[in-house]
Point group: C2
Chain length 104, copies 2
């Protein structure tokens, strides 16, 4: 179940992952589930949001750039990254500093 | 048609809009289309991405904080903002500085 992330007051960091999929599953569903489960256990992980229609947008929230870097270098995550072209026709990763937040 | 945004080299800004909808359309579809069309015409607008499943995630990209502020204060946009509770059970707006970008 994906719900809006409950994040602390800014500043913190967001990684916006925008993608288009290749045809077929090719093990994507299992991988995505495992990667997310592992991400949730990382130091500095703050939350995760995701939706897909024509394109997929996943946003993970992190306490620091160091936490993002450590997650990027995680061994299991690197194995998944190495298979990116099996699952994605294209993707962009944008690493962002969240400066302001509001809403209800 | 929503496609991955083609943005310039960082730094630039992103506004991550995460929402859950109220039941029914209540004029939402028409409003969303008009607001997006207008956003595309604003100075400093760089791109837009959106997807909705359990939650909706829309990301707009901007050249500067000033461009974001001017868009927030746009008269038609303010009319839409005033009706937020008709359309959204909840939303968060996160204003972010994009520091790094990569992908294929």
């Amino acid at each position: 179940m994906i719900e809006p992330a409950q994040t602390p007051p800014p500043p913190y960091y967001a990684v916006i992952f925008t993608s288009t999929r290749t045809p077929g599953d090719n093990g994507y569903g299992d991988m995505a589930e495992q990667v997310l489960e592992l991400a949730r256990q990382q130091p500095g992980f703050l939350g995760f949001e995701s939706a897909r229609q024509e394109i997929g947008i996943s946003v993970s929230y992190w306490a620091s750039l160091e936490a993002i870097q450590a997650w990027k270098e995680n061994a299991f995550h690197r194995q998944a990254q190495a298979r990116a072209r099996d699952w994605y026709a294209g993707f962009r990763v944008r690493v962002c500093k969240v400066e302001r937040e509001y809403g209800f």
